[in-house]
């Protein structure tokens, strides 16, 4: 059940340092949105505010509103744990739990929370999630082996399976392919295309072709200089961003003329 995200004038801080300033963006349900921009412009920082992972870092705080289907994530009395179980996240580096088997990794969201689940339900969930992550055929014979024994691309898909197993409404991905080979990258891009039919997907990428291939809409972030806050420069349909951007900075960046 995909949900929409609306951000109103969001400022993101690391202690006193304003890392991202004045971002307003509307992310449609069942769509793929790509964040692009030069290194250090605050894409990861902004992405992490969308599921309240930013405040895990000491000193991390935000000002402004993030609405998930109209409910403010940062409203009074909102439990970040509830937010995170509805908005999942896949990290840049695959990080399966080293102490758990492949199966337990997929079930981590359920088991770590202490939720009781019957054996057959668990098996169904594992198969469904692994199929959803295009990994089932590769690992179905070794579900009880450790997750760290998989290749990097398989590990990343395992992390995606783990994320979709908790049935979130939104999936955030921070450069999910940057540690992967072209084949695994294609596998994950295909997967993102499939995930779109059930989830709202937001992906950070440095790969322009990837943004063009997978996303419906693209947001370009930029930074005026070191120590300055990152800002959202342009947000539009991906085809528009890549073929006729409105801003000069966007055009320079997507055409590779950027510093």
């Amino acid at each position: 059940m995909a949900k929409r995200i609306d951000v109103n004038d969001l400022n993101v801080y690391y202690s006193k340092f304003l890392a991202v300033e004045g971002v307003s963006i509307n992310i449609e349900p069942k769509s793929v949105t790509a964040f692009i921009g030069p290194s250090g412009c605050g894409k990861s920082t902004f992405l992490r505010t969308l599921n309240r992972m930013h405040e895990v870092i000491p000193g991390g705080r935000v000002e402004g509103q993030v609405l998930l289907d109209g409910d403010d994530l940062y409203g009074a009395g909102v439990d970040p744990v509830t937010v995170r179980s509805q908005i999942g996240m896949v990290f840049q580096r695959p990080n399966p739990f080293p102490t758990m088997s492949i199966k337990d990794n997929v079930l981590a969201g359920v088991k770590l929370n202490g939720t009781k689940i019957s054996r057959s339900d668990a098996d169904d969930l594992v198969e469904k999630s692994l199929r959803g992550a295009n990994l089932w055929n590769e690992v179905k014979d070794r579900l009880d082996k450790p997750g760290s024994g998989l290749s990097g691309g398989q590990q990343q898909r395992l992390c995606i399976a783990r994320t979709i197993a908790v049935k979130p409404d939104v999936i955030l991905m921070d450069e999910p392919c940057s540690a992967l080979d072209p084949i695994s990258t294609l596998a994950i891009e295909d997967l993102i295309n499939e995930l779109k039919s059930d989830y709202t997907v937001v992906i950070v990428t440095h790969n322009m072709q990837q943004a063009a291939r997978v996303s419906d809409k693209t947001a370009f972030f930029n930074i005026a200089g070191t120590g300055k806050p990152g800002k959202l420069i342009e947000f539009n349909d991906t085809t528009a961003i890549f073929s006729n951007p409105e801003q000069k900075a966007t055009e320079d960046y997507v055409s590779g003329r950027f510093g």
């Binding site: 509805q86 990290f91 990080n95 080293p98 102490t99 981590a108 082996k145 450790p146 908790v166």
Partner: protein, 380 residues
């Protein structure tokens, strides 16, 4: 000279080489394998000669041989194989020498304890106490040439029980402290204070820990409240800082990515710590705890002032005095059961020392086993 050696080598390897073979310009002169043994043999002969000149003894013989070997081996390697390899040889042999020097005390301790302790180890020693064994008994066994009577069972049980209780106290306290320091208290004033006091605790002399526990229980139960649990408290004062430190180090090296992965799945912090962080670090924590036990199991002074000394079997840590192996050894040596015939007491002391060493070794082995059992699984 270097050219000759190379030719020799080429000839030796010639059989397997292709028929028309250019000399490998990358290969440099190299000493044949036997050369180093020849140098060693020569050094031993020269070392013996040098030692005889100054009145032969084993120590000077070994030292002279080692020095001659070191110089000869590095000089010859330098001449034949070049400067870099010469230096490499010198440092390699120096490191071997340092290793052997470090091993000497260990080997000699083991040898002495085995030699003096083994005769005293038998099932009577292992399974009976000193209850009723008086000076008269010892005098009689010596006079009749009978085997020594009296054993260390009570001390073995005392050691096990007191250490067990000390572990039961220190592991929860130490682990929770470490969890607070790493997972909750980062940068807070309280955690800085705790770290400071843990550092101070690390330096507390063991007798002070013993006096502290004795005084603490003295306030509650009145003076002369000596029993196993007081000793366990004293030992846990010594163990807690070690447990905190090792657990803290292990928790710190758990990658932050795993915590974030767990948070991102909507898992609460305490569950993340309990089910992700600690299981990932458990093998290191377990071996840290075992090493902390190994450190306190040989303590003598704090036991004497807290649990006293006993010659009978007492399995209740909450009442009456208790002996442990270290206090047993101490008393057998300092106040032999029979002042006129000390041999039985000395034999019992060495046998107990051997038992203590075996216990510590067993603990170290257990630590390795535990670490490998809990280690994050690898492989496909």
């Amino acid at each position: 000279m270097s050219a000759t050696t190379t030719n020799l080598n080429n000839k030796a390897n010639g059989n397997s080489a292709p028929p028309v073979r250019k000399r490998n310009s990358l290969a440099k002169g190299k000493l044949p394998k036997w050369a180093i043994w020849a140098i060693a043999a020569g050094s031993i002969v020269l070392g013996a000669a040098a030692s005889t000149l100054t009145g032969f003894n084993v120590a000077s013989f070994a030292i002279y041989s080692a020095i001659i070997f070191l110089i000869a081996a590095s000089v010859i390697t330098t001449v034949v194989e070049g400067k870099r390899r010469g230096k490499n040889a010198m440092w390699t042999y120096l490191i071997y020498a340092a290793f052997i020097v470090a091993l000497i005390p260990l080997a000699s301790v083991l040898y002495t304890v085995l030699q003096k302790g083994l005769p005293g180890i038998n099932s009577h020693f292992l399974f009976s106490s000193m209850n009723g064994v008086t000076g008269a008994v010892d005098n009689q066994t010596v006079a009749n040439g009978e085997p020594v009577i009296g054993g260390a069972y009570h001390a073995v049980m005392g050691t096990l029980l007191i250490t067990l209780w000390a572990t039961l106290i220190s592991v929860p306290v130490g682990m929770l402290t470490a969890v607070y320091l790493v997972e909750y208290g980062q940068g807070k004033a309280l955690s800085k204070a705790i770290t400071f006091f843990v550092d101070v605790m690390t330096g507390i002399p063991s007798i002070v820990a013993g006096l502290f526990a004795a005084a603490l229980f003295g306030i509650i139960l009145g003076p002369n409240a000596r029993m196993g649990i007081v000793a366990a408290v004293a030992l846990s004062v010594l163990m807690i800082p070690t447990v905190v430190r090792s657990t803290e180090e292990m928790l710190k090296i758990v990658p932050n990515e795993l915590r974030e992965a767990s948070f991102a799945l909507g898992v609460r912090r305490w569950r993340t710590i309990l089910k992700v962080v600690i299981p990932t670090a458990i093998s290191g924590i377990a071996s840290g705890v075992t090493l902390a036990i190994a450190r306190v199991i040989g303590e003598t002074a704090p036991i004497l002032v807290t649990a006293g000394i006993a010659s009978n079997i007492n399995l209740n840590v909450f009442a009456n005095w208790m002996s442990t192996l270290p206090t047993f050894i101490y008393y057998q040596i300092l106040t032999p059961t029979s002042p006129t015939n000390v041999d039985p007491s000395v034999q019992r002391a060495w046998a107990a020392a051997l038992l203590l060493i075996l216990m510590v070794m067993a603990l170290n082995l257990i630590a390795r086993l535990v670490a490998s059992i809990f280690a994050p699984k690898k492989g496909r």
